[in-house]
């Protein structure tokens, strides 16, 4: 299809012709396929702001809740770092507390912070706006989704206060250890954790169905799939992954709950502990690991894909250049998503599973690197010959590229089954996943907040604080995790409360202390950021409409910031992809998606 435009220098059209024979003529407006969405109009304060059915409000609720619980995760990481860096000094942390901190830190960060923030927060806020819908398709279900999520968070918090404390089984919750004495919280903590996770899955499914159907079925006229911003693509694909991956977690949670409270033996083999043989027997702990990672690996892409999408938009807008290779970017997201379901056992290379799986999973795992690499290339090629504004979102996007490539590359070490053997379960793995998941997507979260804050509040965040925030976070986090890889090479295992008496550790004590100090500095800088967020609501510099001169629909609503129903009387009609920056021959520097070709002065740009 794009052959038509081959000899035309501008291939702007290319972006939406790929998926087949359908390309509307230039000024054509397709017929409406369905009547307007019926909206729920809130009448009181409560239904407007608290039990709100407006996706924008729900998005903010999700984001605030996730941030709040994320701060708990951050504080727990300080405790861990203090113990690791200065084991003698901070002896108030016993091993039980330490392991509980590790577990809750990992679980909170992955599930309750990042998943909820990207999908529940950004997904809710941005999807309807970006695809030109008035709201999510089922606002009521969407609202329930948030409340179930909140309940899940509360159950999680409750587990801190039950006898025995929260579970200390590691965020992977491997049985039989998770439910046997010898592990902190093996009685009540673990059950609450499993219940909380199950609730999270249920709540998420309600929200996730909304996001998927809104993208599939509620786009505005002219908004083809291939005209959606990559942000939407990332969140959309991640949501599909979540809908297919969370079931495995849900099932694993149910089975482990039964093992723990009913005494069934799904995951309990013949065990001899505490001087006697347990009554349970015959089950398979490896089964849990398979179920967990069938969920767990897609999960890491659930937090990565939205980041991929958002960062593409940040780079494009702030470099004033179209994203390079949009079509490849979309396909890469989809392929990564699909492949992520067939690599799960790379977390189990040393688990004692059937050793021949190593061949299969190493191959699939390394194949994923190819589409990912394409994305990385396209990000940097978008910078090439751009006109780069070094705004704060752009800085964070750059930070993301560096940390993501670094972390991705260490992933290649781990994915190659034989190299994983010495490195698995050491700090090399910890460094890998913090680089690629702890730091890289968080960079995008921060960048995205600086980018869309004006849209949400109508005010800018303070720029000076923002610059400090970026530099300290980026350099500090890099200083934490880059050296950490080398701890792994020495052989330091993860989840060690302390090992200062070990010959492997003697050379690295100073390094560990350095890491702790860096972590504390980075951590406290986040307070600056929080202060910035809350104070700028009132004191921030007023932002004019569309301050970054972006093309996507969310900046072109009738009210700014957008209000209930998002768009005015008529939904916008879309004529082009969202990346028409610096189109040659056009007198406009950027052409928003809803500007009809007739209003753009050049003939060439009309192709879009």
């Amino acid at each position: 299809m794009s052959d038509e435009y081959k000899d035309n220098k501008i291939e702007a059209k290319s972006a939406d012709s790929s998926s087949g024979g359908y390309a509307p003529p230039v000024e054509h407006i397709p017929a409406k396929e369905a009547p307007e969405q019926e909206l729920y109009h809130a009448k009181s304060f409560w239904t407007k702001w608290v039990f709100s059915q407006d996706a924008k409000v729900i998005g903010v609720q999700y984001a605030l809740t996730a941030t709040a619980i994320g701060l708990v995760g951050l504080v727990l990481s300080w405790g861990m770092r203090l113990q690791l860096g200065f084991p003698e000094t901070f002896s108030f942390l016993g091993p039980a507390t330490y392991y509980q901190s590790v577990t809750m830190h990992g679980m909170i960060m992955v599930i309750y912070l990042l998943t909820a923030l990207f999908l529940g927060g950004f997904g809710n806020y941005l999807i309807p706006l970006m695809v030109g819908a008035r709201d999510m398709v089922f606002p009521y279900v969407n609202m329930v989704s948030y409340w179930v999520f909140l309940a899940a968070v509360l159950v999680l918090i409750a587990s801190f206060f039950v006898p025995g404390g929260p579970t200390g089984a590691g965020w992977t919750l491997y049985p039989p250890q998770a439910i046997l004495p010898g592990t902190p919280g093996s009685e009540y903590g673990i059950v609450l954790m499993l219940v909380s996770l199950s609730m999270f899955v249920i709540g998420f499914t309600m929200g996730g169905l909304n996001y998927v159907i809104t993208v599939l079925q509620a786009r505005t006229r002219g908004m083809t799939m291939m005209r959606m911003p990559l942000t939407v693509w990332g969140i959309f694909t991640a949501t599909i992954l979540a809908l297919l991956a969370f079931p495995a977690l849900f099932v694993a949670c149910i089975m482990m709950t039964l093992d723990s409270i009913l005494g069934t033996s799904f995951f309990m083999p013949d065990i001899f502990t505490m001087g006697e043989k347990l009554k349970t027997g015959g089950g398979s702990p490896i089964l849990f690991q398979h179920l967990f990672w069938f969920f767990g690996h897609p999960e890491v892409y659930i937090v990565a894909l939205p980041a991929f999408g958002i960062v593409s938009d940040l780079i494009s807008v702030h470099a004033r250049k179209n994203i390079f290779g949009y079509r490849m970017m979309v396909w890469a997201i989809v392929i990564i998503g699909a492949l992520s379901f067939v690599v799960w056992a790379h977390h189990m290379y040393v688990s004692g599973m059937n050793p021949y799986f190593g061949f299969f999973f190493a191959t699939t795992t390394l194949i994923i690197a190819v589409p990912t690499a394409i994305k990385v290339y396209n990000w940097v090629l978008t910078l090439w010959r751009g006109n780069i504004h070094l705004t704060i979102p752009m800085l964070f996007a750059l930070g993301f590229i560096v940390t993501f490539v670094n972390g991705g590359i260490t992933g290649l070490f781990l994915g190659n089954v034989i190299i994983d053997i010495p490195l698995s379960d050491t700090y090399f793995v910890v460094a890998h996943f913090h680089m690629v998941m702890g730091i890289a997507p968080l960079m995008v979260v921060f960048g995205a907040i600086y980018h869309w804050y004006p849209l949400i509040t109508g005010r800018h965040l303070n720029q000076t604080l923002g610059k400090i925030h970026f530099w300290v976070t980026f350099l500090g986090a890099y200083a934490i995790y880059f050296p950490m890889h080398y701890l792994g090479f020495i052989g330091v295992p993860r989840r060690y409360f302390e090992m200062y008496d070990s010959p492997y550790m003697t050379s690295a004590i100073g390094l560990n202390q350095f890491i702790t100090i860096a972590a504390l500095i980075v951590g406290f800088t986040q307070i600056l950021f929080l202060y910035n967020i809350f104070s700028s609501v009132f004191k921030g510099e007023k932002s004019e409409r569309n301050p970054w001169k972006a093309n996507s629909l969310e900046w072109h609503t009738s009210d700014y910031p957008p209000t209930h129903g998002n768009f005015g009387k008529e939904l916008p009609v879309v004529y082009r992809w969202p990346y028409d920056f610096s189109v040659p021959g056009s007198d406009k520097e950027y052409i928003p998606q809803d500007v009809p070709p007739s209003q753009v002065s050049t003939a060439k740009a009309e192709i879009t």
Binding site: D16, G21, T205, V212, Q217, A218, L243, L244, L262, T264
Partner: protein, 235 residues
Amino acid sequence: MSQFDISKLPQGGKGFMHDWGSDQRAFKGVPWGKAMMWIFLVSDTFIFSCFLISLMTARASTTVPWPYASEVFALTVFGVEVPLLLIAIMTFVLITSSGTMAIAVKFGYEKRRKLCALFLLFTALGGLAFVGMQAFEWSKLIFHEGIRPWSNPFGAAQFGSFFFMITGFHGTHVSIGVIFLFIFARKTFRGDFDTGRKGFFTSMKSNYEAIEIMGLYWHFVDLVWVFIFAFFYLW
């Protein structure tokens, strides 16, 4: 502005390309609720698949003999042991209710209010009968056969665990379905879908599409039973 007409769109593989390349909707002519139910069912399929895969794994990796389902679930009628009799009846009841549901959906689309409500009611009663028989089966296993989730006299302990967990989870699906069937039967009968009366919780209008969505769910429950029947009882 031309009218949108779904029957003019290309079909088959071409239609696939067209729909995905088009604007507004990827699933042409599929209402939101129905699309949502379908995607939910795919997700739910993964849940049941994980359950059944776990069952398969446990069964294939245990060295303790697996109880022989057709004896465990036999029913004595007039002094004769008939294997799986109750299960067979349950299967037939569930299939029947699936049939009546399909017919209810048909009447729904033809807007034949009373017939639709009637067949919904049949379906609900079928479901209720199914749950009832399941309750009977559970109590028989627990009280007469001595099967517990954590152990049983016939062999591998996982047998009971999986039995109660999987049929329990399926039974929950059926029960939820039954509740909604009754609600929908009432709503249909009252004419909510003709008058556009607003829902109690959502305060949104609904129409006969709701019946089709309900139908999808109900057929899915039946579908899952087909697999459970094969994997648990016959294997």
